[in-house]
Symmetry: none
Subunit: 214 residues, 4 copies
DNA sequence: AATGAATGAGAGTTCATTCAT
DNA sequence: TATGAATGAACTCTCATTCAT
């Protein structure tokens, strides 16, 4: 409309850049915090990994704690944590179990997931409100959904009644075992045993869920 | 007349045998390190809990790192870690499973065990040699022993062949799940679910190990 | 109403170019180290004299040792140490000797020179590589140059052959004596004797260098 | 006199032992202090070298400062410092000079003398009263005696009038140069040049003291 | 007289945070 | 918005000195 070209884009651009910067900082913080723990991580470490100077962090977050809270909030949000596995990803039990196992062990080998879990174990006491919220609103909800789905499957005759169908936690406990092992011993040292465990885990699910033949 | 600042009496000096003092320091360090992590724990914290002054620690350990190593060494030694569960604690499968569950969940609710596990997860990278040693010499040995015992039980007809008998880790995976839950959410918040999980865990073992009736 | 403890205003923060600040720190360190010795000098002392806070030092040097090494390196560099005396500063022996004595005793009364010499005597063992280098590349070179010049003068008939012309160290030994005396007893206590020594030193040179009359 | 043998000796013995201990401690302190300086020397260092425990030192000296003062007092006492060279150790000038040079360079290579001199240079400010006393009562006295002796020799026609006979310091200045060189560069590195300097020093004395032939 | 565990006052160093540029 | 020098509090560690044994 106006004859001169108004220099608008930069304003919008800057906001975008700021958001992008914050994403980079949070990503850097996730790695650093989960590798070394909150206290042992220095603002310099985060800054270096995010590609700016220490002072620069304070343009985006007002303290180390705030970075941590923001990070944990993101890590605990449903979108980060729960790209859910759908029990009806298949028609036969074998297909369902395969899909579940594949999905579950993908997560266990996902560095971001390991980082998040480690953070949760080592530093959750720093933000009890977030952890409480997450437990109630995210984790329990997720477990309940699985429970519901399991019952639905049972109704369809896909699975039988078993301890697993009553405590959904049992479904993934072996995968958590694998994750913890990786945390303690490292990726390389646990490669082989991960495969064995995964196979046995799948068999366990089959054996416990397979409907009894009449 | 009297000064307002009460100069606290100069803290009774208690001289202990070096050995006894070292034990107290290590005990204090276990609690502090596992509660706050290595870096966030101050020498003052350990000293206060051990009942001496900060400087006094250095009469027994030459650095914070050395306290940590000594502690981890102790925590990873077989005697600390493996009061083993004997599969033949009973004649019927129900008795064996009950004994195993009782033993396993005792450990999960033992503060020292939780502390040690947390230390292992959060700080094992500080002493890779110790962790390597522990994995090879202690953990793997333990798993192998369990495997042997399971096979023995199978020979006796006490249990049947199942994924559990091939991967001994599966036996206790649900208990580890409970332990991690406690670490993240605290003791109080997980009281109830612990019971449910324990019961389901026992059922799972029964169902998977019970010999098929002819 | 007002509190009794006056919270001193937070010490104007003065940001300087890194190079300039480093120069000030090294200058401060020279004074402090040579006055009190390396160990007895506190980082606070250096900081206070350099006009910044203790922590600020670490933006420029990574340790007390590094400050010391940098300082010693500078102090031992030819430019600091050897504004050389030229033997041809005059045409008659008297002029040459006068120039030498003037130059030499200027140094002996120069606080920076005394400071450097004291540092060398008391703390040289902290940086043997620097001292070795200095001896080979600076001091010996300097002595050799003097030797050469002396021979040149002898050829010109300005001086005669004497022990002094063979061991250039003898030329300045009395001045070193004066310097050491000042170090031990202080400036005030040695004012008078310095003059006497200087005069006798000059006479000694004249007597030993004067060509024998045919 | 008495019929039973009174256990007397131990009392006397203990006193002797205590004196002996103190000598050992002072000797240890001389080495340690002169090697590392007062501040950098730990009570443990002295104790170890003296062959007892840190706490044991306090049975003999009430503080580190007191050890230092006692040590310096001893080191500055005439008996330690001045086994004097007698100018009449010979009948010809050559004999006198040889004796002086031999005596002087013996001292320069005596570790105890070097240690004492180093102590004086580096730590004299810690006990100004002792140093003042020493200068007035010991050093100046010594120089005056030498002066007197020189005049006596001159009267005998053994030496001629020269700058050396007016400033006795000049007599030994080159030896001090050698001592300082040893302090800075160490014994090994100065072996060779010490010989050269010593020879030139002797020649210098001969040339300056030899009576002019009629 | 001797030991060595214990104290407590600092020392050097680190680091979250601030601020001049 | 970004930099990095500067601050100051808090940390680990040291060491002269004390004291229970």
């Amino acid at each position: 409309m106006s004859s001169t070209v108004a220099p608008r884009p930069p304003a919008r651009r800057r906001r975008l850049a700021a958001e992008e910067r914050m994403r980079q900082i949070i990503e850097a913080a996730l790695i650093e915090f989960s590798e070394k723990g909150f206290t042992a991580t220095r603002m310099d470490d985060i800054a270096a990994r995010a590609g700016l100077s220490k002072g620069g962090l304070y343009a985006h977050f007002k303290s180390k704690d705030q970075i941590f809270e923001t990070l944990l909030f993101k890590v605990l949000s449903p979108s980060f944590n729960n790209r859910k596995w759908m029990l009806d990803d298949g028609d036969t039990l074998a297909e369902v179990v395969d899909a579940f196992i594949a999905h579950t062990y993908d997560r266990v080998t996902d560095p971001d997931f390991i980082a998040a879990l480690r953070l949760l174990i080592t530093e959750s006491h720093r933000a009890p409100h977030l952890v409480d919220y997450w437990r109630r609103e995210v984790l329990d909800t997720y477990l309940k959904e699985q429970q519901t789905m399991l019952e639905h499957c049972r109704a369809r005759g896909l699975v039988r009644h078993s301890p697993l169908t009553q405590q959904a936690e049992l479904l993934m406990a072996p995968a958590l075992y694998a994750a913890i092992t990786r945390m303690i011993f490292g990726e390389e040292a646990t490669q082989a045993s991960l495969k064995d465990l995964r196979r046995a885990h799948a068999q366990l699910l089959m054996e416990l869920l397979e409907p009894v033949e009449a």
